[in-house]
Each structure stands twice: as structure tokens, then as C-alpha cells.
């Protein structure tokens, strides 16, 4: 207090931008504005930090400690890298990783190829194109929980649509149990449900990409004598690069983190043959309440997703020519 009074007594303004005084220069005023801006966003920043940074950091902390609710009375000892080494050594995690990677590659390739085909088709003028474009969005607009439930019902061995169709072809194909009864059939059902939902997403993104390619480039190619295939590989694909990269990044990350369709349709079964990394993580975290091991699993998953995005972003960086 004494120091403040002294400063005032010295005749120097304690606060440059005080109200009521003429603002000397625009500079100080600007600074005042900036301060107000900071003050206004502070509560939001604090809130965001509390609900995002805090859990993330807490999760990192957890992953290096023993924290399992089934042993809630035990102290949360520091265990070093143990949660990570146990995970890398567990056959369950390694198989889940393999399954997730295979699922990602297969679905992403399939979705991209079929999605591109659909986009090329919808790009051509024909009657009912507007209706088709709107209709194709429907599967994407349905929440995965709903669409997975829908497909689970469709694959029901006694009441399902799939059973009905197959039985119509051949009586021996009726009453086939798809989910939980056989590893391959379970995967096929999951794959169909997943693609049904995600192909439209790829198609719409690529369609938007196709629409911004100027028509005169195609005309120029035609004049130069390019075949359909040549104009597709030399014009369409390179010009579609930005759209392709967006679709690819989104689809890959979604496939890598796939959870809901598995949770609804098979719960990882039969056995744990359809368990993906995210499902295993849910199982460890929520069902087994092992926050140490679950934390380690989720962080590895985050690192994996970041690594994939990084590779993609590098690969699809706009080339400066």
C-alpha cells in the first residue's frame, strides 16, 4: 500500500489506461482491449483446461500407476512402465492390434473404392440425381448405435432380413447364426454394417471434390486425345487429391478407433475374436475398472491415431512446384 501511495505521490499515473483520463496514445488503448479480451475468455479457457487437459494429464499419470477399482483399497503406487510392458506382452492386446489394423486397411480400401465409384456415378447428369444424392446421405445420418442395432436385427437367424433372403435362395441357407456363432460370419456382418454407414460419407466428400474440378481441363484432355482412363488417372485423381486426403484421414481414424458397431453387434465375441483396440480399452477401463492398464491402452491408441494422421498429413501436403 505504502509503495502505491508513493508512486501516486510521485505524480506518475499508476494505471495508464484508467477511465476518465484522456487516452494518451492508441497503443495503450489497444492493450486495454486486449486485456479485456483475455479477461473475457479466461473462464472459458479455465473450463476447457479443467475438462480436457486435466483428464488427459490425469490419464497419463494413471497409466504409470496402479489404479484398479477392483482393488480400490490398495494404494495407487507408481509402477513405472509396467502397465505398458504388460500390455505389449499380452496376447489379447497384440491380437486386438492386429485385428484393428486389418479391419482398418480392409474397410478403408473398400470404402474408398466403392465411395469413389458412387461419387463418379452421382457426378454424371441423370434423372433423379438430386434425389439419389440426398438418399445416399441417409445411412451416414443414422447414428452408428442405431444402424448397428438395425444390422444386428437384420442378421438375426430367425427374424432377420438376411435370413429371409438367403432362405428364399436355398432352404439349407436358412437359420444361419451370424453373430457370436462364428468368427468369419461375425466379421462379415460387422464389415457390412460398417461399410453401409461409411461409404456414403466417402462418396459425398469425393463428390464435392469432383464438382470443383473445372470442366475445361477435361475438354483440353479430350482435345489432346486422352482416353477415359487417361483423363481419370491424369486429371480426376490428381485434382481429387485434397478431397481424397480428407476422406482417407477421416475414415482411417474412424476405423482405427472403431467401437460402437462392435459393442452393439458382437461385444467382441465370439470369444474375443472381434475385439478391437477401442473395445479392449472399454473392457479394461469401464468393465474391469482397471484405470492404470486402461490409461496405458488409451494413450497408445491416441499415439497410434496421431502417428497415422501425421503420416497422412505429410503424404498429402500440397506440393509446391
Amino acid at each position: 500500500m505504502a509503495a502505491d501511495t508513493k508512486t501516486e505521490a510521485n505524480g506518475r499515473p499508476a494505471h495508464a489506461g484508467r477511465p476518465g483520463r484522456p487516452t494518451p496514445v492508441g497503443h495503450a488503448r489497444e492493450r486495454g482491449d486486449r486485456r479485456l479480451g483475455y479477461a473475457l475468455v479466461t473462464p472459458v479457457i479455465v473450463l476447457l483446461l479443467l475438462i480436457t487437459a486435466y483428464p488427459l494429464i490425469y490419464n497419463i499419470w494413471n497409466s504409470f500407476h496402479f489404479d484398479n477399482l477392483s482393488f480400490g483399497g490398495l494404494p495407487h503406487n507408481f509402477v513405472g512402465w509396467k502397465n505398458y510392458t504388460t500390455m505389449f506382452k499380452s496376447s489379447e492386446w497384440v491380437s486386438a492390434l492386429e485385428r484393428t489394423l486389418v479391419f482398418t486397411v480392409v474397410t478403408v480400401v473398400f470404402d474408398m473404392v466403392v465411395g469413389l465409384g458412387l461419387a463418379l456415378m452421382m457426378h454424371r447428369p441423370f434423372r433423379g440425381r438430386g434425389f439419389l444424392r440426398a438418399a445416399i446421405l441417409v445411412p451416414w445420418a443414422v447414428p452408428t448405435v442405431v444402424s448397428a442395432m438395425l444390422w444386428k436385427t437384420m442378421f438375426d437367424p430367425s427374424a432377420g432380413f438376411v435370413d429371409y433372403i438367403l432362405a428364399a435362395f436355398h432352404p439349407a441357407w436358412s437359420s444361419i447364426a451370424w453373430l457370436g456363432a462364428n468368427v468369419w460370419r461375425s466379421w462379415i456382418a460387422i464389415f457390412i454394417a460398417d461399410s453401409w454407414k461409411n461409404i456414403p460419407f466417402v462418396a459425398i466428400i469425393l463428390l464435392a471434390g469432383l464438382q470443383v474440378i473445372p470442366n475445361d481441363i477435361y475438354e483440353a484432355a479430350k482435345i489432346d486425345g486422352a482416353s477415359w482412363w487417361q483423363s481419370f488417372t491424369r486429371v480426376t485423381l490428381p485434382m481429387l487429391r485434397p478431397a481424397l486426403s480428407v476422406a482417407l484421414i477421416f475414415r482411417t481414424l474412424q476405423a482405427l478407433l472403431v467401437f460402437d458397431v462392435i459393442y452393439i453387434m458382437t461385444r467382441g465375441g465370439p470369444g474375443n475374436s472381434t475385439e478391437t483396440l477401442s473395445f479392449l480399452n472399454y473392457q479394461t477401463f469401464i468393465v474391469n475398472t482397471d484405470f492404470g492398464a486402461g490409461g496405458a491402452q488409451s494413450l497408445v491408441l491416441v499415439v497410434l491415431a496421431l502417428a497415422v494422421s501425421f503420416v497422412y498429413v505429410r503424404a498429402f501436403r500440397p506440393q509446391v512446384s
Binding site: R35, N68, S70, P157, S175, A181, G269, P270, G271, V287
Partner: protein, 427 residues
């Protein structure tokens, strides 16, 4: 102009943030440890999952309790009816060290875990008389020799059969197969010979337990790979792949689907819980429902599996005496009988199976018999992990059509059950 008051604004921001943090901190430390005598005026919180008629019945019992104990007010906290969510809601309170709920409903598989964590009060101080309850559910609430939870109601899983199709109930597991085959041959409206839960969920464990003892098996996580357990699981596997009395679709069935098959008249046998009795059924099924323990094979005893709910007290409560009074009231014979009549929850006390109950719902005579056989699931603090291992084990066995693949899946599953059940973590 507002923009010319930066300093004051910042002060406001800081104050608001500090206030928010302080409120949060206060909310986190609401635990209290002083205890209130049972006869003092107080309010206790009771957490339960009951909805609809079950919830209404609990509320009616609590109203009567409050009338009998005017000094105690009971606040009912209805948590999720989904068991996984219910468990995590309870655990959030415990981890935060909250003194509420003072008393709560607990599945039969939770007490060991809660006791190990130090979240529930040992009931030793109240000297409970456990001899009046069915011993199987008492065992589910016991951990390291101490009682932590009181049996509230007892749901034994057993074998349902159609009395019109199966004239004399089967005496052995082999007879179940032959009876099912005969019934399927005689009645073409049947879709299968037996329905049971084989989906990958907790019910796969109880349906297995129902016929484990009949083969002389015992579900001890430390030693799953025993001849008895193998024989029991082989019977279920054979039902799908050898005798084919069960469709492969059972691998996707939970108790709801099993009940639907039975109530619709599609199957002469079903392994399920007593709730089937109270469900609307097809005309052919109505009045033709038999309910027995799964018949014993050589060297076995009749089989049933224990499901049900218990009542326990929060270790941090300040109202232990009042909470105990509420538990005593809810588990007294007339209150349990009333609950059974109103909503069909089978009493945990043999003495609550009264002629009045039988006259309202005769099937409770069968339920009482089954309760004397009901085998509890393994009592283990790491039960959630053990359970998911077991679910994986059963699910992979049921999905392996060849006996060799099934045996390999069984051996692998038994090994992971053993290691997780013996886990001594924390080092």
C-alpha cells in the same frame, strides 16, 4: 465504455474462477465421519435401481418403515437400471469418499469387491442372524469370513419345461436330451429342444452354473479345468453341435430371448430365471410351466445358479445404526413376502415363503426348492475381470464347432481365469 476497465474485469474473472474452484473443492469434501445414534432424528439415503412397479414397491416399504421409525427419514436415490452403469455410479460415490448413499442395493457379485476396497461396512457389529437366510446368498455376501451384505431377494436360475409336452420331468441330463428330441419329433410347432443363454454376457456364466453341479462340477476360478466342468460344458456344446437340440442362434441369446422362445411355445425346455413364470405366454404354454433344478447326472447334485440382490452399508456413513434398521426392516419376512406377491422378487428368507404367497403364486414353491440348490458365482474381488474371462471362454467354446477347437478354447480360457482370479496387483 467497458473496454476501458481491464483491471477490474480481470479481477472479476479471477474471483469467478476462484469461486468456481472453491465450490468444486467443497463439493468433493462433503464426507463426514461422526456417527449419529440410531434413535436420533436423521435422514439417510438409500440407493437402488428399481424402476416401475419394483421401485414403487420399495417406496411403499420405505413409507411403512418411516412410519414405524418416525425419527428416520429415508431419501431414495434411484440409480441406473443398467447394472454396469449402476455399479459405476456407486463407485463414483465411494471413490470420492462420500458418506452417501448410506445404504444401497448390491448385485450378489459385488460385495467381495466392495469389501476388498474397504467401501462397505462389516456387519459384524450388528451380529446378524444369517441362519434364517438361504445359505447360498449368505455366502455371496461373505468375504474373508465376515458378512458384508444381507440377502434381499434371491433369483435362482433353473430348468423350465412344458408339462404338456414332457409328462414326467427328466431325472438325468441324458433324459433332458431324449425328452427334447422326442418332443421335437412329436410337435412340429417347436423350433428347438432347449433354449439357454449363450451370448457373451454375464448370463452365459449363470446358465453354465445351472448345470455345473449336476455333472459334479464346481466353478472355482483357480481350477476351472476339472472333469465336472468339462462334462457340463460338453453337454451344452453337444446340445448345439451333436444332438442339435439347441440352435446355433443361442450364441446370441440372453435371458430375454430365451424367455421369448419359451413363452411363445417354441421350446419344451429353457434354462432361465423365475421371472418367466410371470410373463404373458402363448395359450399352449399357459398353465403348463414346470420349473425344476437341472437334474443331476452320475456323481452330481441337482443344479441351480444364484442371481439376486443384496443390501449393504457404506463404510463412510454416519448413520450406520439407522441404515441397519432399514436393512432389517426390508429383509423381515412379512416385507419380503409382500414384495414377492407385489412384484415377484423371490424372498431370501425360507420363512417368507408362506401359504399366502403360494395361494397368490404357486410357482414360488418351486422357487423355494431351487433356492436350496442355487450355486453362487465365484466370490472374488477381481470378479469383473474373472467374469469377462469366463464370458470369453464360454463364447469361444460355443462358437467352436469342432470338439478339438472347443477344448483348446476351454483350456486357454481356464488359464486366463486362473491368472486373473489370483492377481495380486499393486506392486
Amino acid at each position: 465504455m467497458s473496454s476501458s476497465r481491464p483491471v477490474r474485469w480481470r479481477a472479476v474473472g479471477v474471483t469467478l474462477t476462484a469461486a468456481a474452484l472453491a465450490t468444486g473443492a467443497a463439493a468433493c469434501s462433503s464426507g463426514s465421519s461422526s456417527s449419529v445414534a440410531g434413535n436420533a432424528k436423521q435422514t439417510i439415503t438409500f440407493a437402488e435401481s428399481g424402476l416401475g412397479t419394483e421401485g414403487a414397491q420399495t417406496q411403499a416399504a420405505i413409507n411403512a418403515f418411516e412410519k414405524a421409525n418416525p425419527n428416520i427419514t429415508v431419501k431414495v436415490q434411484v440409480l441406473s437400471s443398467d447394472s454396469t452403469t449402476y455399479l459405476s455410479q456407486l463407485e463414483h460415490n465411494f471413490i470420492a469418499g462420500s458418506s452417501t448413499p448410506d445404504v444401497f442395493e448390491s448385485d450378489v457379485t459385488y460385495p467381495a469387491k466392495f469389501a476388498q476396497a474397504g467401501w462397505v461396512l462389516s456387519l459384524k457389529q450388528f451380529n446378524p442372524d444369517m441362519s434364517q437366510f438361504f445359505p447360498t446368498e449368505v455366502a455371496a455376501g461373505t468375504f474373508n469370513g465376515q458378512q458384508y451384505a444381507m440377502p434381499w431377494f434371491d433369483n435362482p436360475e433353473g430348468l423350465f419345461y412344458r408339462t404338456d409336452l414332457i409328462k414326467t420331468p427328466p431325472k438325468t441330463p441324458a433324459e433332458v436330451v431324449s425328452d427334447a428330441q422326442a418332443a421335437m419329433k412329436a410337435d412340429k410347432s417347436l423350433k428347438e429342444g432347449i433354449a439357454f443363454e449363450a451370448d457373451k454376457y454375464e448370463g452365459a456364466i449363470t446358465s453354465f452354473l445351472t448345470l455345473d453341479a449336476p455333472f459334479g462340477g464346481k466353478l472355482d476360478p483357480a481350477n476351472v479345468n476339472t472333469p465336472g466342468n468339462v462334462a457340463a460344458l460338453k453337454w451344452l456344446h453337444d446340445a448345439i453341435y451333436v444332438s442339435k437340440i439347441a440352435p446355433q442362434a443361442v450364441t446370441g441369446w440372453q435371458e430375454g430371448q430365451v424367455q421369448a422362445q419359451f413363452s411363445s411355445g417354441y421350446t419344451p425346455f429353457a434354462i432361465n430365471y423365475p421371472f418367466v413364470e410371470a410373463q404373458p405366454a402363448a395359450a399352449a404354454v399357459k398353465g403348463h410351466i414346470g420349473y425344476i433344478p437341472f437334474p443331476a447326472g452320475p456323481g452330481g447334485t441337482p443344479g441351480s445358479a444364484l442371481g439376486g440382490e443384496m443390501l449393504a452399508i457404506n463404510a463412510k456413513t454416519a448413520h450406520a445404526d439407522a441404515a441397519w434398521k432399514l436393512i432389517q426392516y426390508l429383509t423381515s419376512p412379512p416385507v419380503e413376502t409382500a414384495r414377492a406377491i407385489a412384484v415377484g422378487d423371490p424372498p431370501s428368507l425360507p420363512s417368507a415363503y408362506t401359504p399366502a404367497l403360494y395361494s397368490k403364486a404357486p410357482y414360488f414353491q418351486d422357487v423355494k426348492t431351487l433356492n436350496t440348490y442355487a450355486a453362487p458365482r465365484p466370490v472374488n474381488p477381481n470378479y469383473l475381470k474373472v467374469s469377462s474371462d469366463l464370458q470369453t471362454l464360454f463364447s469361444s467354446v460355443y462358437a467352436s464347432s469342432s470338439p478339438n477347437a472347443a477344448a483348446a478354447a476351454f483350456a486357454a480360457g481356464a488359464a486366463s481365469v486362473k491368472s486373473d482370479a489370483a492377481a495380486t496387483p499393486g506392486s
